[in-house]
């Protein structure tokens, strides 16, 4: 234990330049290390000259920001291959697709049973009849930029938002929409 700690400390010094440039958080983001979710946002308080800061529901600091001091790269488009049989749980996939904090597919797509579905992308009510393979759908959810570099659709896999199994579940769900 002692050993690793020491080695780490040495590395920290030597690599500090590189670390600061590539990994560390930019200083001008709304971030509070003491809070569980880290990301905070400002709330004005009536007749006060000070802001109150609330915790956001999710730690957003893991991903690139608009800060000029943010040196972290956006993940480049990733081409992936679906390995083995799909083994997806459609029921679970539906929950992911219709959860605003996870897949949030309904923000842009109409899904069956959701009268409020978004209109940013094509309705997916019968995507199971479009003749797409599981592998094709898997790639679109992992990273649609491979097919369309200008897409508005989030790269769920490349950005580490949904796991391999999550995406298998969503694909299984999409294939049931007929």
């Amino acid at each position: 234990m002692k050993h690793t700690l020491l080695a780490l400390a040495v590395m920290g010094l030597a690599g500090s330049q590189a670390a600061r440039a590539a990994d560390s958080l930019p200083p001008n983001i709304l971030y509070d290390a003491a809070r569980e979710k880290k990301t905070i946002w400002p709330l004005p308080v009536r007749n006060s000259g000070e802001l109150k800061y609330n915790e956001h529901r999710q730690d957003l600091s893991r991903w690139p920001t608009l800060s000029y001091q943010d040196k972290r790269d956006t993940k480049r488009p990733e081409k992936v291959e679906l390995q083995g049989p799909l083994n997806g749980n459609a029921e679970n996939g539906k929950k992911i697709a219709m959860n605003t904090q996870r897949g949030n597919c309904w923000a842009c797509h109409v899904l069956p049973g959701d009268p409020q579905g978004g209109t940013g992308g094509p309705p997916l009510i019968n995507v199971g009849t479009w003749g797409y393979s599981d592998a094709h759908l898997y790639q679109q959810i992992w990273d649609r930029r491979v097919a369309n570099p200008a897409t508005e659709m989030p790269p769920y896999g490349s950005n580490g938002v949904l796991s391999d199994q999550d995406i298998r579940d969503v694909v299984a769900y999409l294939q049931t929409l007929k």
Binding site: L30, E50, L51, W63, T65, L66, T74
Partner: protein, 294 residues
């Protein structure tokens, strides 16, 4: 372990300057044609909704009441004189006057904000601007924070009282069209930086501001419909009917987190550059405060 540390050290030293100079990889939403000297009416070439919101005395109720088309009036039917209902923005105006008078007892607060002989008329139109003293682009609220601190009062940028003073000062320019000049330096570069930021994708979603306000403009996002980014600035700061007096930068933090992008500090250079960009896209639209938005 030791070996890799050494290699790292060796590798970093000569590379560091080159790395620092290189911008990180980002995806961009493609630009629309903003021209060199943008104005609100340019929206006619883009979403072509300008015709519906250019004059808030003449809003077509058939469009503002339509469930599918209401976004085309860019919420202008909420502004006075079309809508003259009382709301929290009016309380803010009163509070702003009170705090302003306290700060300006000797007249030097107004002078610090840039008012000639204490006259606040038209002062709002001179912001955002390059500020030699503060060494960067500042909006009215950043300047208010600075000038209040000189009087020994803390008015944090984005706080209720700062924003209330901003509403009060802005109200003296009511009816006057915004007209910032982004054809000359250093505002020209600030505009270009703001334009680039507005189109830069970030966050877990890999969304830019333009993802919603350009690419998905007029589309439904589960109950929310983004409107054009032209013509927005004249009614800021605004009263949000969810019970919040809001400055423009606080609005930016809200759009950021709604879109899954880590928000920045209020008053940051990035938000100031976006403010310059969006203000230029509002040139020609009159100041209308106090105002209210959903």
């Amino acid at each position: 372990m030791k070996r890799s540390t050494l290699t790292l050290a060796l590798l970093t030293l000569p590379l560091a300057p080159a790395l620092a100079a290189e911008a990180p990889y980002r995806d961009m939403t493609s630009y629309i044609d903003y021209g060199k000297s943008p104005k609100a009416s340019d929206d006619a070439k883009h979403t072509n909704t300008y015709q519906y919101w250019k004059d808030n005395r003449k809003i077509d109720p058939e469009i503002s009441n339509s469930l599918t088309d209401f976004w085309k009036v860019n919420w202008k039917y909420r502004d006075a004189p079309y809508d003259d209902t009382l709301h929290g923005g009016h309380d803010a105006l009163e509070r702003g006057e009170e705090v302003y008078k306290q700060l300006n007892a000797k007249g030097d607060f107004a002078a610090c904000l840039g008012a000639k002989k204490g006259d606040l008329k038209g002062l709002r139109l001179t912001y955002p601007r390059f500020d030699k003293e503060l060494g960067g682009i500042v909006g009215l609220e950043a300047r208010i924070e600075h000038c209040a601190a000189r009087q020994g009062m803390k008015l944090e940028n984005g706080s209720y009282d700062n924003t209330a003073v901003s509403v009060y000062v802005t109200s003296f320019s009511n009816g006057m069209p915004l007209k910032i000049d982004v054809t000359r330096e250093p505002m020209k570069s600030a505009f270009e930086r703001g334009k680039k930021l507005f189109h830069t994708k970030a966050g877990w979603t890999n969304f830019s501001c333009a993802t919603c306000h350009v690419s998905l403009v007029g589309k439904g996002l589960r109950g929310q419909i983004p409107t054009t980014h032209y013509g927005d600035i004249g009614h800021w700061p605004t009263w949000r009917s969810k019970d919040e007096l809001q400055s423009l930068h606080v609005r930016f933090t809200e759009c950021n987190r709604n879109a899954g992008v880590q928000p920045l500090k209020v008053g940051s250079p990035e938000y100031h550059d976006i403010e310059v960009f969006m203000t230029a896209l509002s040139n020609g639209m009159p100041v209308t405060v106090p105002s209210q938005r959903d």
